[in-house]
């Protein structure tokens, strides 16, 4: 028995030592064991062996010389040759450890992949921005938001719902675009719109040129004058516009020597906001050239948009009853009610019997405020005012609650959010949060209110001006730049599980 234990301990030695002396070492051990009988000698024997092991094993590994066991053949001059140090195949233990380490490494990499951390999706061309001035992380860069904004402006002018505004901008080109179709009749992505306007090579050289161009006094003056003119003509409060104008003119000397466009835009924005306290007023600088003409939404494009919405079930991706009778609605945009009213009503009817309801807005790229109001109506038993930073209050700012037959008005509501929750989805979140009607689970939303109307100043400057006086009964600020904070902060991927647990716990308490 003890011989076996010792043979096993011998495996700790490197193989070349075992091969040369393993048998002799065992023999020596047997001889000693035979000679030293009795309890105390046996204890001393094992103590000796352990001390010996502790000293000699590391030494063998350090100094032991693996012998050259075989050479493929006689080395030929000027040819590489190989010498095999060990002929024995890898031990089972070594193979097992190797496999284990590979698995651990693979798992580690996959964990790293699923936790990419925070990153910005901004267009690469955008200069570093300060949160105060331009915290809106417009996913497609200023040139694109401009395209979308001007498109919106025309839409508004043509009598379409004002809320149609920046959806094209809001829909993220990378992930939510496929799920959240672009309202405003633009089925092509903002990227395509711009490339339609500017041939690729041309825009590229423009970009390069733009980087080299520095502001001169003439352009500064032109920008300043246009900003002032736009403020006076378009801002809804002429008194504030006048004050802002004075402020801008009063700091004339501060502009001298500002040659970087982004800095200049931030400077102007700061001055305007100091007087107006309106976070939706901003001057924006774009390194790439701003397109002169907005894309035209054609009737065909509108039809395509409508068709696509219907194909995608109006972005109502999933309507389900989860365990414990928790209703679940995954909604990836707030589509135009004129097209999607039936779908929305069907979805809400399917969830009518639920004991709690989870709105999954983690991939919601925004949409139309009337749909926000349409869905929110189910959550109240009396009309509630929903704040929308883009419009003055109208009759439609109130929900049409109570909805006949609806049983959800007093049920717990959970809203799942992520950093991809944008725009109209944030309006839904913001208003429900201010009305304390829902528990928010997930990540902070992106922070895009898109309240201003876009005015192009020149190739690189533009500004956003709200033309209406929105009434925010809840707070001086909204979610512009800051997003809507969740009540329960978890990773977006874990939000659903967390919300389910919360809902379950709440129902148990009832």
């Amino acid at each position: 028995m003890s011989d076996k234990v010792y043979s096993w301990l011998l495996r700790l030695y490197p193989s070349h030592f075992r091969e040369a002396y393993g048998e002799e070492a065992r023999q020596l051990f047997r001889d000693r064991a035979r000679a030293e009988k009795g309890f105390l000698p046996a204890v001393r024997l094992w103590l000796d062996l352990l001390v010996d092991l502790a000293i000699s094993v590391p030494r063998e590994y350090r100094y032991g010389q693996p012998q050259v066991r075989a050479a493929t053949r006689q080395p030929v001059e000027a040819l590489p040759s190989f010498h095999v140090l060990e002929v024995e195949p890898p031990r089972f233990g070594a193979l097992f450890l190797g496999a284990l380490f590979s698995l651990v490494a693979l798992y580690g990499i996959s964990v790293l992949f699923s936790h990419p951390g925070e990153y910005r999706r901004d267009g690469a061309s955008f200069p570093p921005r300060q949160t105060q001035v331009d915290a809106r992380p417009s996913p497609s860069g200023p040139a694109l938001s401009h395209a979308a904004t001007t498109a919106y402006k025309r839409m508004a002018a043509s009598g379409q719902p004002v809320d149609a505004r920046l959806r094209a901008d809001a829909s993220n080109p990378s992930d939510s675009q496929s799920k959240a179709p672009l309202p405003v009749g633009q089925t092509s992505s903002p990227q395509e719109q711009v490339s339609q306007l500017m041939p690729q090579s041309a825009s590229h050289s423009m970009n390069r040129l733009a980087e080299e161009v520095k502001l001169d006094a003439a352009e500064r003056q032109l920008v300043l004058n246009t900003v002032i003119k736009n403020l006076q003509e378009h801002y809804f409060d002429p008194e504030v516009a006048r004050k802002a104008t004075n402020e801008l003119r009063g700091h004339q000397h501060d502009y001298d020597g500002v040659i970087e466009g982004g800095t200049f835009a931030r400077l102007l924005t700061g001055l305007i906001r100091e007087v107006s306290h309106d976070r939706h007023l901003e001057v924006v600088y774009s390194q790439s050239r701003l397109p002169a003409q907005p894309p035209t939404p054609t009737p065909e494009a509108l039809a395509r948009y409508q068709q696509r919405l219907q194909q995608e079930n109006c972005t109502f991706e999933k309507v389900a009853i989860l365990p414990h009778n928790v209703g679940y609605l995954k909604l990836n945009s707030f589509p135009e009610p004129s097209i999607c009213r039936q779908t929305a009503m069907a979805a809400m009817a399917a969830l009518n019997q639920a004991k709690a309801i989870i709105f999954d807005l983690r991939d919601n790229g925004g949409g139309f405020a009337p749909m926000v109001s349409f869905l929110a109506a189910y959550l109240f038993d009396h009309p509630e005012y929903l704040y929308d930073p883009r419009v003055s209050p109208t009759q439609q700012s109130w929900t049409r609650s109570p909805v006949p037959g609806n049983q959800l008005a007093d049920k717990p509501v959970y809203v799942l959010t992520s950093t991809s929750t944008v725009s109209a989805a944030e309006q839904f979140c913001y208003d429900l949060k201010m009305l304390k009607r829902a528990t928010f689970v997930g990540e902070r939303t992106r922070g895009s209110a898109h309240a201003g109307i876009w005015y192009r100043i020149d190739d690189h400057f533009g500004m956003g001006i709200p033309e209406t006086r929105p009434v925010n009964p809840f707070s001086k600020t909204d979610w512009e730049g800051t997003g809507v904070e969740p009540d329960v902060k978890v990773k977006a991927a874990d939000a659903l599980v967390t919300a389910e647990k919360l809902a379950e716990r709440k129902m148990l308490r009832r």
Binding site: A20, A25, D31, D48, D52, S56, R59
Partner: protein
């Protein structure tokens, strides 16, 4: 991998050389001889013993003399080792070095009375 050094000579290696000075011995015999000549203070374990033997062999201070039987220990055949002349020379010079040390120690009077 660095080569194991026998300079300075480790005490285990020196004891092995001394143990082989009188007669050829196998591993266990070396161990017992070393224990005997050190009044049981040094009991070489197999690992230390054979790694020392390995390096002594590599330096050609000892050599293998083939397999033989030890009647006292049964029928098993054992490998015997013999001191080479180089090994004997090294053992002598190491002993002289220690003798010098001993002389110095004696001059410095760090021995108690009972030692020579």
């Amino acid at each position: 991998m660095p080569k194991r050094k026998l300079d300075p000579l480790p005490s285990a290696a020196f004891q092995i050389l001394l143990a082989l000075a009188d007669e050829d011995l196998h591993g266990y015999g070396i161990m017992r001889q070393v224990a005997e000549q050190t009044c049981n203070r040094m009991r070489l374990g197999p690992g230390t013993l054979y790694s020392s033997i390995q390096s002594l062999l590599a330096e050609k201070l000892i050599e293998e003399v083939g397999l033989g039987e030890d009647e006292k220990l049964g029928q098993e055949r054992r490998r015997y080792y013999r001191l080479t002349s180089a090994g004997r020379k090294l053992a002598r010079s190491e002993a002289e070095r220690l003798a010098d040390l001993l002389r110095v120690a004696r001059v410095k009077k760090i021995f108690r009375g009972e030692y020579v």
